[in-house]
């Protein structure tokens, strides 16, 4: 199939507005009489609130409303699992938890008033270690967890390990009994923050019709509406989420943050209320990627055949679990890897601790699980004396196999993708001393979701896409514009995108997430465009007497043989627009998945432990690529975040207290840290939807860290099982090894 617009690199629709500063973000929205609100945060990790006295703050200049936990009794919120207190009620569960909120005329007045709130705490025993917290006898952080809405499975006794997922296959004990060699290791990963430029923020106004108007950079606006409606038991139609530009998401902007507080303050003060988290607050009380501890045990035959694979993962959910879409983090199950083993047991627990809450970050669970799995596979290969790439090739899943966690896919391209990356990276080429190469793999199918879209062809000649999707920053708008341009044979630049608030047009949109943007939106855009074209041609047939089947479109014109007719003139004549409509319900398991294979090449200074990432080659099996420049952007961006996760980033937490307060100390990689990136595309004829697409947003990030860890072992013979892979850890390991 050849296309005119689809498959050609197309500049992003949002580039100009973002570069020129015209894009309107939440903090640019100001309403008359807006109050500013700030929250007082707990200095204790686990404590009973004995008393809160707000009387001094109430008398402070400019203060219009104050809330404490006493005002929000019984109200819990969350994306689906609802365990988050709007403000701490009777006890605090982490350092940084919101205890009271003040709305005042100015930000400075709100901040000053916080200092006048007196809170008396009585410390409770706290637990910070995720494994300890999961054990019987650990201080129980949510004794009421069995009563929370959205808990997947109730427990006989309340426990901190509020989600315990187990996938089994075959019989793990007999699997290990058959093995000649068993390798067991534990891997640990830290919390990392999404690092978006725009912190969480919102503006809430209760309008003259008593409707709740929200401005918030949430990538799941309909979800925000549902969460708010559920938390406060108000009808959904009373809530409207207005479109804004999102200042970076990377997975972290799907959950309500301060919206519930701003709503209550707006209700109490009768004024619009704005809340913007400082970045200091993002670090101490945002919802970073979960830290975790993963124990892996693998049994292999002497010839390298994997027979048994076991993982036990504990993810630190911190004090609250509701900041991610589901209670379960499925992605960790990728620690099963893309390998075959007759016997497997993968268990994943999400555990409450008195640390800050864990959230959602690009490919949730996978960077953790894949780091453990792909590091471990290397260890296993080395133990049986095989080259890690050859070991993978031997055990990779093939057509007809199912994953260790029971998913089925067709057109499996695992081996092809691995072969491609080995070749492109020069994996087998000779290398100098202290140079190492490491390989790692991952896979991810496009996520499912629902959306509705309308396309109007207007009498003024404009073509407008009406969508409830908020552009999260990944280029979904650009892609849907390409599709409409393709199907209507017009220039994509002439198509306008009208972002709908949550009231209008769209009954439901599941928002952006899970690499589903292109899968779900491209389907909807295609159907809406086809519907509009069909309606236009039907009208043309009637008005012009041209046989419908012989009419083609060319920009502003309808064409039949030598004759050309502007379609906007026809619409002017009949006095109305033509609207194509589509509803995509594509929320099932994807029939296809996409593999990623990467090779990292490092140079290690064997005296200091410094690791220089020299080159990173990434291969992806893809479906049709809608916008090559956007696709490449996703790959490069994912790899860069993977490098950060692998080598630099971590949120240091000491007894529940986050130690960094700004980006000077919380280090994200800079351009100087990024090596030559090379991409190889392994084209696949399979995909989903009208254009046969696969997802790309989340695939590139996960294998990077283990590829680097594997390369370090290849270079100097030491294995680092804890992220990030710093010079210090390599140095210590070298010293231990060399004595």
């Amino acid at each position: 199939m050849s296309y005119q617009v689809v498959g050609k690199s197309t500049p992003r629709t949002d580039n100009t507005a973002k570069v020129t500063g015209e894009a309107r973000y939440t903090s640019d929205v100001l309403l008359p009489g807006t109050l500013w609100a700030k929250t007082l945060r707990s200095p204790h990790a686990h404590a009973r609130i004995v008393q809160i006295d707000t009387s001094r703050a109430e008398r402070a200049p400019g203060v219009r409303a104050i809330l404490t936990g006493n005002d929000v009794r019984g109200i819990l919120y969350g994306r689906r699992y609802r365990d988050i207190s709007v403000l701490a009620q009777d006890k605090v569960r982490f350092i940084g938890e919101r205890v009271a909120a003040v709305a005042a005329d100015t930000l400075e007045q709100a901040e000053a008033a916080l200092d006048l709130i007196d809170v008396r705490y009585e410390d409770l025993p706290a637990v910070f270690d995720v494994v300890a917290a999961a054990k019987d006898g650990a201080p129980l952080i949510h004794p009421d967890m069995n009563n929370y809405k959205g808990l997947p499975k109730q427990f006989d006794q309340p426990t901190n390990a509020f989600v315990q997922d187990v996938f089994t296959r075959g019989d793990i004990a007999s699997g290990f009994a058959q093995a000649d060699v068993i390798v067991e290791n534990t891997y640990t990963v830290p919390r990392v923050h999404q690092g978006f430029l725009e912190p969480h923020c919102c503006l809430v106004w209760i309008d003259e019709q008593e409707r709740i108007q929200i401005w918030s950079p949430c990538k799941v606006p309909q979800g925000l509406k549902s969460s708010m409606a559920a938390a406060f038991d108000i009808p959904k139609e009373k809530i409207r989420v207005n479109p804004v530009t999102i200042g970076g998401d990377f997975g972290g902007k799907g959950a309500p943050f301060d919206e519930p507080i701003a709503y209550l303050l707006a209700l109490r003060s009768g004024r619009p209320v704005k809340m913007v988290m400082e970045y200091r607050e993002e670090f101490i009380a945002g919802a970073p990627r979960h830290s975790g501890v993963m124990r892996l045990k693998t049994g292999v035959k002497r010839d390298g055949t994997m027979v048994a694979h076991e993982m036990e993962a504990y993810l630190d959910a911190g004090a609250y679990g509701g900041f991610r879409p589901g209670a379960v983090i499925g992605g960790v199950a990728h620690a099963g890897g893309c390998y075959r083993a007759a016997h497997a047991r993968i268990s994943v627990s999400r555990v409450y601790t008195n640390n800050l809450p864990g959230g959602q970050f690009r490919a949730p669970g996978e960077p953790q699980g894949v780091f453990a799995a792909e590091s471990h596979i290397d260890c296993v290969a080395r133990k049986v004396g095989m080259d890690p790439a050859a070991f993978r090739m031997k055990n990779l899943m093939v057509e007809g196999d199912e994953t260790l966690t029971g998913s089925h896919y067709k057109d499996i391209k695992a081996k092809e993708t691995l072969t491609a990356v080995l070749k492109a990276s020069g994996y087998d080429a000779p290398k100098a001393k202290n140079i190492g190469r490491g390989v790692a793999m991952g896979y991810r199918g496009p996520g499912g979701g629902n959306t509705a879209m309308q396309l109007s062809l207007n009498p003024d000649g404009s073509v407008v896409i009406h969508t409830g999707l908020f552009e999260q920053g990944t280029g979904t708008y650009t892609t849907i514009r390409q599709i409409v341009a393709e199907e209507l044979r017009c220039d994509p630049e002439t198509i306008r995108i009208d972002t709908l608030d949550t009231d209008l047009g769209v009954s439901y949109d599941s928002g952006i997430g899970g690499s589903r943007g292109t899968r779900v939106a491209s389907s909807a855009a295609y159907s809406a465009a086809c519907d509009a074209r069909e309606k236009l041609l039907t009208m043309a047939e009637k008005l012009l007497n041209w046989p419908k089947a012989e009419i083609t479109l060319d920009g502003d014109f309808l064409v039949h043989q030598k004759k050309r007719q502007r379609w906007d003139e026809l619409l002017k004549g009949i006095g109305r627009a033509i609207t194509g409509e589509a509803v995509t319900r594509d929320d099932g398991h994807s029939p296809v998945t996409a593999f990623a294979a990467q090779v990292a090449e490092v140079a290690v200074d064997s005296a200091t432990g410094e690791v220089t990432l020299r080159k990173l080659t990434t291969a992806h099996d893809t479906g049709a690529i809608m916008n090559p420049v956007g696709h490449q952007g996703q790959i490069d961006g994912g790899v860069v975040q993977g490098v950060g996760y692998g080598m630099i980033e971590y949120l240091p937490v000491l007894d529940g207290k986050v130690e960094v307060a700004n980006f000077g100390e919380y280090k994200l990689p800079n351009i100087q840290d990024i090596p030559v990136l090379k991409t190889v595309i392994v084209e696949s004829a399979s995909g989903v939807g009208p254009y046969k697409v696969k997802g790309i947003g989340e695939n590139p990030i996960s294998p990077v860290a283990p590829a680097i860890a594997n390369a370090i072992e290849d270079a100097v013979g030491v294995r680092i099982r804890d992220l990030p892979l710093t010079a210090e850890k390599v140095y210590r390991a070298l010293r231990e090894k060399n004595g």
């Binding site: 200095p43 200091t608 000491l654 207290k657 000077g664 100390e665 800079n670 351009i671 100087q672």
Partner: protein
Amino acid sequence: MKSFENIDAKSVKEAVGLLSKFHQQKKLAAVVGGGSEFLQLMKDHVVEPDYVINLKTIPGLDYIREERGGFRIGALAKLADIEEHAAIRDKLLILAAAAGDAASPQIRNAGTIAGNLCQRPFCWYFRSSNFTCLRKGGQSCFTVTGDGRFHAILGAGPSYIVHPSDTAPALVALGAQIKIAGPAGEKNIPLEKFFLLPSVDYRRENILNPGEIVTEIFVPMPKAGSKGFHHKLRERQAWDHAIVAVDTIVESSGGVVRNAHVVMGGVAPIPWRATKAEEFLRGKKLDEASAKQAGELALEGAKPLKDNVYKIKLAQELIQRGLLASV
């Protein structure tokens, strides 16, 4: 950020006068140059002055002048200008390299040499308003029980900060002088004597008294036969502080050391001069063995915290490399 009043100073004298006046009135006043550091301190609520005296409005304080005996650098000279100055690159390469290793291009375009030398510590406990550390008037240095991977191994206690300046170790190695203006007039002192150990005063990093400001740095021309080395080891390759930095100047002839300066950054609350190593090197032939021994001597007496033992080896290694590259 707390509100403050900004005053544009027109002369050094005026700035000094204002500082002294506010000090007498018990008002908190601070000076700002490039602002890249100061603004962050205010945003992080570490420093909350009532008055900010802007020095950028003082004309002619951003000069870089080459004279017979060395370079005179005005307090307001930008790090980027030092990094790119042709004569400095030619004659004081380690200074240009150190200035170029600081922060990011944007910050080097705003940040001044005096500001770089007067930076407050980048210890995360000091910078975070979540911690009231010893240096901010609290009871203890959290590094002792907390995460001290970036902290001091030499000259520390009761505070374990490391001095964050990239240019300071290079300037100390070059034997720079610093000029300070104050209510009593001007004084010139060796830069090495400018910095304060926490055992002397753990609330400040240098000898500046209320009312005093830095006005000039003088860097003497290195002696003939001198060779310098600068290396900064860091976690990320731009906009990061040193885990360990080493600056050396070795004056030698025929491979024999006449005089050596070995200074480390990132290891101590001040730029740390390895005097024992310097003495050992005098008159020695520089080879693998003597360079190694100098590295070991330089770290003698190091007392690492539980998380920063690795700094010792890193520093030894860098010194060894630096010395070997200097002959």
